[in-house]
């Protein structure tokens, strides 16, 4: 960690830990997420990847350590407060609002930071601020043509894209993406990777993903977790030849 705080480090965690009963699910994680970088976190099931995302986004409290958003210590902040401050996340299982239109899914997310939610005389459908943000997010996620469709009628790949678009609608600085490629075909994966490439410039991206080809194609930095601890954190080239990683993870399946 550089001594004068690096303005490109948008999110970092220090000695982050989480205990479930007697089990240390995550133990002493210290990581940085930089603007312009996709930082992939890989590891077998149960390595603590989702727990890490849950703690960074504030969905579950940490048992120890701290989370910093820029220069701000957000460890004690609630999840909604962290989200409004710029931490956006997607879920492993698709969690869209199926009965709303694709556009309304994003518009609603954009509305979260709106200053006057209780202005009852103003129609939500005609809210310009959130509407504009939603259209922009749909464009960035490549969904603008499906805007008026019911979200539940999208294909699986479309729903995953919508997850990203909803995340973007909150205007996040940091994107925590939990397996955005799960269950996708090759073509859908390509499209999603393009979307993620486009997002790099303005955001710090944490990518939890099982698709190793995709991870090595897109990530600038890869962290490997085993049993809640980091065994390696480096560039993709270095990770590929890392002996410990090969024996613990890459060599076995895939």
């Amino acid at each position: 960690m550089s001594l004068p705080p690096d303005p490109d480090v948008l999110l970092r965690c220090q000695d982050l830990a989480r205990r479930f009963g007697g089990l240390m699910a995550v133990d002493g994680l210290t990581l940085e997420f930089r603007r312009g970088e996709v930082h992939a976190v890989i590891g077998t099931n149960g390595a603590g990847k989702s727990t890490l995302i849950n703690m960074l986004s504030g969905e579950i409290p940490s048992s120890g350590g701290s989370v910093w958003l820029g220069a701000q210590d957000v460890t004690t902040w609630s999840q909604p407060r962290r989200a409004r401050a710029g931490i956006g996340r997607s879920y492993q299982r698709t969690t869209i609002f199926p009965e709303f239109s694709v556009f309304e899914n994003c518009r609603l997310c954009a509305q979260a930071a709106h200053s006057r939610p209780f202005a009852l005389w103003e129609s939500a459908d005609r809210c310009k601020v959130s509407g504009d943000i939603a259209h922009e997010a749909l464009r960035a996620a490549g969904l603008d043509e499906a805007a008026m469709q019911p979200a539940g009628s999208l294909s699986h790949g479309g729903k995953r894209q919508l997850e990203i678009a909803m995340c973007l609608s909150t205007r996040p600085k940091v994107l925590l993406l939990d397996e955005p490629l799960a269950g996708m075909g090759a073509e859908e994966t390509d499209r999603m990777l393009q979307v993620l490439q486009g997002l790099k410039a303005g955001h710090a991206v944490l990518l939890v993903e099982h698709d190793m080809d995709a991870v090595f194609r897109i990530a600038e930095r890869i962290t490997v977790m085993v049993n809640g601890t980091v065994i390696a954190s480096d560039t993709p080239e270095a990770i590929r030849v890392h002996p410990e990683v090969q024996s613990a993870y890459l060599g076995t399946d895939e």
């Binding site: 909604p80 879920y91 969690t95 609002f97 939500a124």
Partner: protein
């Protein structure tokens, strides 16, 4: 088109109705409209926010009791002031109940709201405040300027106006950003928190508004009947209003009004010996069976009847 115009047509008919009413139909219509205000207030919680409360009658009863207890003993009180205090006191109790109960979810929420309603019930049933099982009479109905609730036409327009106002307010809530956020909380609260909504505050605001509107319904009921008793706060009443919105169709404001009308009319039908003979002695049984049949045949409520008749599901 017709469906969108429907509430407006009903509103115009209601405003024109007093000329045509007999004393019997007048009382029945008033009862339906008061219950419709009550059902609409619960629809805000159940249909719009996804919070199933089994203690909503507490707010009705508190509104009704505060109207009677705060009226001068022999003189008429100020109608506007009583209306606002009924809404305000119910809203305060809703703030207290909501602040605690909204920390729970699902069946626990149902049980906690029921428990708080039972607490309120026993306060009015067993303490000197409520003067026991017999309840209290409202000696003089309230007035405000030229308005006098003792006058049947005035009272009619007070109730009709309040129903239309409540419906209009909730229609505004539905289309507002607040209403859209409530809909999001109903579908997926977890996701709403993840994008930055402090969902607890939104739910609490909905709970307090619903309590205030139920208090308004209580005010109307007290003024209409000139009498209150603890049964207004009982869990039977909470269950009845829940049945009304289920009967009418959850998720629609029209459903709440329709359900209130259907419930009051069915109850009236089965309790009238002239119409149903000996069944009237067991009207609860007949009402219960009818509601089971309705719900089985019309899972979307009466609001889904036209679609059902056209063969769509």
């Amino acid at each position: 088109m017709i469906r969108r115009a429907f509430p407006w047509i009903v509103a115009v008919l209601l405003l024109a109705a007093p000329a045509l009413l007999t004393p019997y139909t007048y009382d029945l219509l008033l009862r339906i409209m008061v219950m419709a205000v009550f059902a609409l207030s619960l629809e805000l919680l159940v249909g719009m926010t996804g919070l199933v409360s089994l203690g909503h009658a507490a707010f009705l009863g508190i509104g009704a009791y505060s109207t009677v207890l705060l009226s001068p003993q022999y003189d008429p009180g100020n109608a506007l002031l009583l209306l606002l205090t009924a809404a305000g006191i119910s809203a305060l109790y809703a703030l207290f109940v909501g602040a605690l109960s909204l920390r729970t979810k699902g069946v626990y929420f149902i049980m906690v709201t029921l428990a708080f309603a039972q607490m309120a019930y026993f306060v009015f049933h067993d303490t000197p405040i409520g003067r026991g099982t017999d309840g209290i009479y409202l000696v003089a109905r309230p007035v405000a300027g030229a308005f006098d609730a003792e006058n049947r036409t005035h009272l009619y327009y007070l109730v009709t106006g309040t129903l239309i106002g409540t419906y209009g307010l909730l229609a505004l809530v539905r289309r507002s950003r607040f209403g859209h956020a409530l809909a999001g909380i109903r579908v997926n609260e977890q996701r709403m928190r993840a994008v930055g909504f402090a969902t607890y505050v939104y739910k609490l605001a909905a709970f307090v508004l619903a309590g205030a509107l139920a208090g308004v319904a209580g005010f109307l009921l007290a003024v209409k009947d000139g009498f209150v008793n603890p049964e207004l706060l009982s869990w039977h009443e909470s269950g009845a209003v829940l049945l009304m919105i289920i009967l009418g169709g959850i998720g629609h404001l029209r459903g709440a009004v329709l359900g209130a009308a259907a419930f009051v009319l069915l109850r009236e039908l089965y309790a009238s010996p002239d119409l149903v003979g000996p069944v009237s002695e067991h009207w609860q049984l007949a009402l219960g069976l009818t509601i089971i049949v309705f719900v089985a045949l019309l899972p979307k409520g009466l609001i889904g009847l036209p679609a059902r008749l056209r063969g769509r599901r």
